[in-house]
Amino acid sequence: MGMDLLRFSTAGSVDDGKSTLIGRLLFDTKTIFEDQLEAVQKATLKRGQQGVDLALLTDGLRAEREQGITIDVAYRYFATPRRKFIIADTPGHIQYTRNMVTGASTAQVAVILVDARNGVVEQTCRHAFISTLLGIKNLVVAVNKMDLVDYDEEAFNRVVADFEDFSSRLESAQIQYIPVSALHGDNVVERSRNMTWYEGPALLYHLETIHVAGDNSVDARFPVQWVIRPQTEGFEDFRGYAGKVTGGVFRPGDDVVVMPSGFTTKITGIHMMGRDLEEAYSPMSVVMTLADDIDVGRGSLICKPQNQPEQSQDLDAMLCWFSPTSQLSRGQKLVLRHTTRDVKVVVQEVLYKVDVNTLHRSEDDPTLALNDVGRVKLRTSEPLYADPYRRNRSTGSLILVDPRTNDTVAAGMLRG
């Protein structure tokens, strides 16, 4: 509480040792408790292995433990005196791109694991591409299993060169390369004595000290979640608008405009359970009161007159398709959720599909299937008030829901 929080995602191939790396971070920061360790020791023995299989700490579901793979995104928590951390641990295998997207959607940093023996593989590229597509500006390439290449600097440099070559085609991001051995702990929490040639930070120190830019602080955005009319004693005339600030700063006295009505008014108060605040900024959840009794409801957006988002029914978005049972195609009708609104949407056109491994664009297939990523034109039943995703992750993101199954079938990032 009050302490700096960093959210990062991890991904790697089945045998890159990702779970071992996380287990190592938790173990070496003393986040693992004695009873958990005992349970893992028991479980390791039961599987006929020696020692402590740190991967068993993170694979929570029965099927995962039986198959030795991670199926779903698992969230892990640890803290050091410098920072709190939330890890979104996402499975690496090919069919789970959707989990990678999910984990990356709330992460500020992506830790990408590469097996030093295998170098940069398709999986590495996919994770890097998805991370930057989801707006992550800081990548850490952890070159793991350095113990199996005799801690050789050349092996590390080869990975760096290959990744540099690939990443030049991605949205720009800061990249830190770190040679590690998750199994033995080299450069995870403690700096390695086996790789004196490496002068950079250990992984944990890097994560503790990395500077991540905050949410958009320029464009003031307040999507209204709920109208609060208590009609109780002392609050007979109270009419407040509850929501979470997703960008910029709001202060009492500010002129604001409410979309979609377009009316302009002033903020008279910003409240949080009886306290009057002097300002509200992202990601604070507050209640605002306005000077005029104008039409404001769930789905309205409060912003500043001189800085309004774009209003449009025609959307241009990068979509990731999640459904194993259906495909996205032209003319399809779905429900789109954006901030606090649901609107109907029809698919106009699939402009192109991106091969997430090679970044190659193909224009000859007008559909998106499970784990496909593509650029799509959509038309909504009502205008959205939206920003490009790269400007605001909240007002620039959307999900699509199939009204027949109620499943979340796609995630989208608005372009522009």
Partner: protein
């Protein structure tokens, strides 16, 4: 998130145990809708084996803030033959709660049950969604969950299905205690150290109560203890502790080497005990 619940569901309710996590959820709900009243009633699944302190605390809270209260009784489920009681000294009504809970949800037409579960508590809970879908049988299908991106929550469902919502998913035990301190949230006295007659079973200290009497050959001891989690008295172990206020507890949590659920006999039944109970509709 709680405002999303009100907007997306017709009859949501808070699952209330009297424990610190559910107290934090109650506090967040009051905060989210202030100055309006908390729009959720509290649902308490009473195993009949609760500590009297928990029940008194619940009734006081409900009276002070004017919450609605729905009590689901495990005793009634037993009397009606819906479930069968376990036997033996380590018998617990904990697993039986799932049936009572699902019956209560159905009887009151609750379409969203808000719980205080946290992902850091247990490995199966680490895979839980904020908005977690339950089919018409109240079951959880961990392999077929909806992806959850940004803070866009999809609570759409068919008739008969319901949701569990976990606003504290990303909180840790320490976060909860620090929040309890910052917001001055009141908790049952069980959390703070007190003198109590206890008995050691399977390495854990249990309170001696009417429904958990001393077995032949066992010896009771008078200890200074407190509880790290509050559940059914038959499966919630006490820890020896002199932590008598929030600051003491925060210091104790920071130094702890055993998880809070390490005192829960119900989790120690098998490697996947929690996942199995959750699939059947447990909290």
């Amino acid at each position: 998130m709680l405002r999303e619940v009100v907007a997306q569901f017709d009859r949501p309710a808070i699952l209330f145990s009297g424990g610190k996590d559910s107290m934090v959820v109650v506090h967040l709900a009051r905060k989210a809708f202030w100055p309006a009243k908390c729009p959720f009633p509290l649902v308490h699944i009473d195993t009949g084996h609760n500590f009297p302190e928990t029940i008194a605390f619940r009734d006081d809270l409900v009276a002070r803030h004017g919450f609605g209260l729905v009590v689901g009784s495990v005793q009634q489920s037993i009397d009606e033959g819906r479930v069968e009681e376990e036997k033996g000294p380590l018998a617990s009504r904990n697993a039986l709660q799932s049936v009572t809970l699902l019956d209560t949800i159905e009887a009151h037409d609750i379409d969203c049950a808000i719980g205080g579960a946290r992902r850091d508590e247990e490995k199966a809970r680490a895979k839980e969604r904020f908005f977690s879908h339950r089919n018409e049988f109240g079951q959880w299908d961990p392999r077929n969950q909806r992806p959850e991106l940004w803070d866009l929550y999809n609570g759409r469902k068919r008739p008969g299905e319901h949701f569990r919502v976990f606003p504290l998913s990303n909180w840790t035990e320490m976060d909860v205690w620090q929040y309890v301190k910052r917001e001055r949230i009141e908790l049952p006295t069980l959390y703070f150290s007190h003198q109590r007659d206890v008995v050691k079973r399977k390495g854990l200290w249990f309170a001696i109560t009417d429904f958990m009497p001393l077995q032949p050959g066992e010896e009771s001891a008078r200890k200074t203890v407190r509880f790290r989690t509050i559940g059914d008295a038959t499966c919630t172990g006490a820890v020896e502790s002199v932590a008598s206020d929030i600051d003491d507890i925060i210091a104790e949590v920071a130094a702890a080497r055993v998880t809070e659920r390490g005192g829960r006999a119900d989790d120690q039944r098998s490697e996947a005990a929690m996942e199995d109970r959750k699939r059947e509709g447990y909290f």
